[in-house]
């Protein structure tokens, strides 16, 4: 009976468990540090279990529509409501569940890492509460089927992220980064709300499926589309609106940075959901697709060329996060640009979209791993300045191994997972336009170059006298990094299994607007 209750209410549990955990964390912190650590690990493991169970349910029996407040969305509403659903629903399809799985895996690894890296610092209650709150925000953003609910979870994400960026007030520099992140996120969120207001004014509905069903591509819809594209692309760090990314990611504590990356990808999910499910073929798909492609190409190139002369490890990795976001925008943009064209879509459009989506989960893992290793180096050596580090490979062998795995994965070297998704993007984009594919490959070479620079500066070289007493980092940090490295290797050796189970259903669910509408509105 309990099991049936849990399985029926899984989408609600996915949000409720981290929220409950976040608000109970200060209470458990009053007792003891160990009690709080066990509570945090338990909550994030429970979220991971819920996400995996939900994945299994959705992949075997189709889209799950969960209504808050009543048993099913097709029950009759009040007699004067005009037949429009006023309830908030969660429409969990294959794309949502794909993002939820990647967020939960990274969340669990980050929780394991944090209990060791925070052990000597103060203010841990707030930190863990914010991490769990951000996890609830990300999971809510990807599972919801209602536009205003999406805005509310977006704001939860932005505020929790801003406070995490400014958490360690390091002579005020971190607070400056947090201020920039908060002002830009709030402005972007207000633009999203304006667009939601425009949608409501036209269609008298906030439900994504109802809006998609009645979408005519009029002037107000175009304005709302532009506001949404600009705001959500800014939240995910596309050039030329990426300036907050290096500031914010370099000043946050390292485990929080690994999680901020996942939050940016949730905004990217929002952008794809608006473009593909809300609008689909009603918009001018070639033009919109080319806008996304241009944003992607600019992000790739500017991100990696700004990364090469950097002297701060985490700032360099943050510029690489911008660059890899460009790959995702490029892949899905090519899919959007051939959306209405059947033959081109079947020959390379779906593969380009699958490459872009596969890159999302790969990026969450190897970028999370790289930020965690940078945090491990900072934990032991006390500095992030590349000009002062050196020779740490003699003392920190496991960290060096994890860094090598992450660096080879981000550069797209076989047999790691970065190579699989990048190969899909290269080959399908080549059939669309060869120039874009060449730019992508050059950017990949420059990525490898900058990570060779980081590897040499931090780990290679003779033993330096100032780092004589450095040991390896504590075990929970190694386990957290080990989980992500293990997944990087597994996704690289068995890419077809991952694409068949997770990515292909997600890409097809994204493109298929009719299927989404019919599963929510009950075949109407």
């Amino acid at each position: 009976m309990i099991q049936a209750l849990i399985m029926d209410n899984l989408p609600a549990l996915l949000i409720a468990v981290p929220l409950l955990g976040a608000f109970m964390t200060p209470l458990t912190g009053r007792a003891n540090d160990t009690v709080r650590n066990i509570w945090v690990i338990l909550i994030s493991f429970a979220t991971l279990t819920a996400a995996l169970l939900l994945t299994y349910e959705v992949l075997s029996s189709g889209t799950i529509v969960y209504t808050f407040g009543t048993a099913s969305p097709s029950l009759p509403g009040p007699p004067d409501s005009g037949g429009i659903l006023f309830r908030i629903i969660f429409a969990v399809d294959a794309m949502s569940v794909f993002m939820a799985v990647s967020a939960s895996i990274v969340g669990f690894a980050v929780a394991l890492y944090s209990i060791a890296s925070n052990s000597k610092l103060s203010g841990k209650d707030g930190y863990y509460a914010l991490i769990l709150l951000m996890q609830a925000g990300i999971l809510g953003m990807v599972c919801t089927g209602d536009m205003f609910n999406f805005f509310v979870f977006l704001e939860i994400n932005s505020l929790a992220g801003a406070v995490l960026v400014a958490y360690r007030v390091d002579k005020g520099v971190a607070v400056e980064a947090g201020l920039k992140y908060a002002v830009l996120s709030t402005l972007g969120g207000l633009m999203v709300l304006f667009a939601v207001g425009l949608f409501y004014g036209q269609y008298d509905a906030l439900n994504m499926a109802v809006i998609a069903d009645n979408m005519q591509y009029g002037m107000l819809d175009k304005i709302a589309l532009v506001l949404m594209i600009a705001a959500l692309a800014m939240k995910s760090g596309a050039v030329p609106m990426h300036f907050w990314t290096p500031d914010g990611y370099s000043m946050a504590p390292s485990s929080a940075t690994a999680f901020l990356v996942v939050a940016s990808q949730a905004s990217l999910y929002g952008l794809f959901r608006i473009l593909f499910t809300l609008f689909n073929v009603t918009l001018n798909w070639a033009l919109a697709g080319w806008i996304i492609i241009i944003l992607g190409v600019l992000s790739m190139f500017v991100g990696v060329t700004m990364a090469i002369p950097q002297k701060d490890v985490k700032r360099l990795m943050a510029y690489h996060a911008v660059s890899q976001t460009g790959y995702m925008l490029l892949g899905v943009g090519v899919g959007l640009a051939v959306l209405g064209d059947e033959t081109m879509m079947n020959s390379f459009g779906m593969t380009a979209m699958e490459g872009g989506l596969f890159h999302i989960i790969n990026h969450a893992m190897y970028k999370g791993l790289l930020f965690l290793t940078a945090g491990a180096v900072f934990y032991q050596a006390g500095t992030r300045n590349l000009n002062r580090l050196g020779g740490l490979g003699h003392h920190m062998k496991w960290t060096m191994l994890f860094f090598v795995i992450g660096a080879l994965a981000i550069a797209g070297i076989p047999p790691f997972n970065g190579f699989a998704s990048k190969l899909m993007i290269y080959e399908s984009v080549f059939m669309f336009s060869p120039v874009l594919s060449v730019i992508a490959m050059v950017v990949s070479v420059l990525t490898l170059a900058s990570f060779v620079k980081v590897f040499h500066s931090v780990f290679m070289g003779p033993k330096l006298p100032e780092y004589e007493n450095i040991r390896e980092v504590p075990r929970p940090m190694l386990i957290g990094m080990g989980i992500l490295a293990f997944l990087v290797i597994i996704f690289g050796i068995f890419p077809q299994a991952v694409v068949d189970t997770l990515i292909s259903p997600a890409a097809e669910a994204l493109v298929d607007q009719g299927g989404y509408i019919s599963s929510v509105l009950g075949g109407a």
């Binding site: 006023f86 205003f148 505020l159 400014a166 005020g172 607070v175 201020l179 908060a182 002002v183 402005l187």
Partner: protein
Amino acid sequence: MILQNLPYFASGIIIITGILMMITKKELIKIVMGLSLVEAGVNLFLVATGYITGSAAPIFTNADSDIMSYPVVQAMTLTNIVIGIATTALLLSFIIVIYKKYGTADVDKVRRLRG
């Protein structure tokens, strides 16, 4: 036509004034004030969307007329007002800490993170 759409014009003017304040002012507190103005403009836009001419407040007890303005939009506006309170409080506390550590609240001088 202008009289009927007056709330929309007013909301547009408030939003543009807020954005102009955010771009041209040099003190951090005035930038946050501009952000508050933008938010007030968006709230006005949301409430104006739900109004029907000649309608009453959407409360069933002792209702004056049968036509009522949409309550969903009013709920959205209330939620946004609360989000705005939290955001403004957070931003102002950030500015206090920056003023203590940097000694200045001028946006041209708060730029230790660049390049």
